[in-house]
Symmetry: C2
Subunit: 209 residues, 2 copies
């Protein structure tokens, strides 16, 4: 735990922050490649070119490092959801935008997302609770869009909770193969996925409202 969270970042503080961020990113790569528990402190030190003393000057504990990786992902995902909410539009448009934003995060942070989806049970206590809250908040955003679409007559009478799980699965599972520098970009995937899903739940044209 840092001594005082107060005092805005001076120059030195900014440097420390940057180094810490670099450590978080490097460690995410290792955790993604071989797992959180399977990665030792010494490996983290090697990868970051640091001794144990120096490493612990930045991170406090191994689990805090894990939590930082989770936060990085959740920050991005929730920010994306906020942008979508601000943009407005019909429920189908909202859902398509949510998908594009989510796939963009998965594409830009493949290691962080991998860690996030695999190692979240390793978080304990306060950190685990906070993480669950944020994750749940995001899932409810998706559910809300689906519910709104049903009420507005854009979508047929589907179960918002169950359908949100289908949508989340379809998108989140791309973490296995959606990587930067690969054949497919995030946009290449977002469009076909939105097509499938929106056609899959659209109201039959006969009873449009």
């Amino acid at each position: 735990m840092p001594r005082a969270a107060a005092k805005d970042g001076t120059r030195r503080n900014a440097k420390w922050e940057a180094r810490r961020a670099a450590i978080v990113d490097t460690s995410a790569r290792l955790f993604a490649a071989q797992g959180y528990h399977a990665t030792g402190l010494t490996e983290l030190c090697d990868a970051n070119d640091l001794g144990k003393g120096a490493l612990y000057h930045y991170i406090g504990s191994k689990e805090e490092l894990l939590a930082a990786i989770h936060d990085r992902v959740m920050d991005e995902v929730l920010q994306g959801a906020d942008r979508v909410a601000e943009a407005g539009g019909t429920p189908p448009e909202q859902l398509a935008m949510l998908g594009a934003e989510l796939l963009d995060v998965i594409h830009r942070y493949p290691d962080h997302v991998w860690v996030f989806l695999h190692e979240f049970p390793a978080l304990t206590g306060e950190r685990a609770a906070q993480f669950r809250t944020r994750r749940r908040a995001y899932e409810q955003r998706v559910e809300a869009v689906l519910r709104a679409g049903v009420e507005a007559g854009d979508f047929r009478d589907i179960d918002p909770w169950l359908t949100a799980r289908a949508w989340l699965g379809m998108h989140n599972y791309t973490y296995l193969w959606l990587k930067p520098g690969q054949r497919l970009s995030a946009r290449d995937v977002a469009q076909p996925f939105a097509d499938i899903f929106l056609k899959g739940i659209e109201a039959s044209p006969s009873r449009t409202r």
Copy 2:
């Protein structure tokens, strides 16, 4: 490594086999709850009510235990795919049946599936290679059905590879919440999922063939 794989199972051998299967199942529960690397040998011994010597009389190594869990899942999943192929039917029917079979496995073996989806990178060497082959074989079954559906005019002109990933994600991701004794059964989920996906990729009625 067992001395000789020959000689068909006598009574004793069957008993040994049953005990081993029980150990695999119990261990799957532990691995699912806290992770493969985070679960120690002593915990496995406690849960199975066995000493280390006795445990190692059945399993050979911790990784072999992990591999046995993977095999259990892959056996079931591939058998389900075989049943579907034997049953025949149109591509849409085939896809719906594949989904029902897959969700059934996930629902019946929640712990095994969790381990399978989280810890497969922990497999090494020969075991990892064999696992990847089998997993890939299943994925290609799904792709084949999609491709057949496009050629037959049942589905619109989608990318079979990408669409298979969407389908796999939607179904596999249910491992997070689809558990026996819960509100929803496998069938409760399979039907809505098939509805969404089939509507999502069906050929527009105007150009049916």
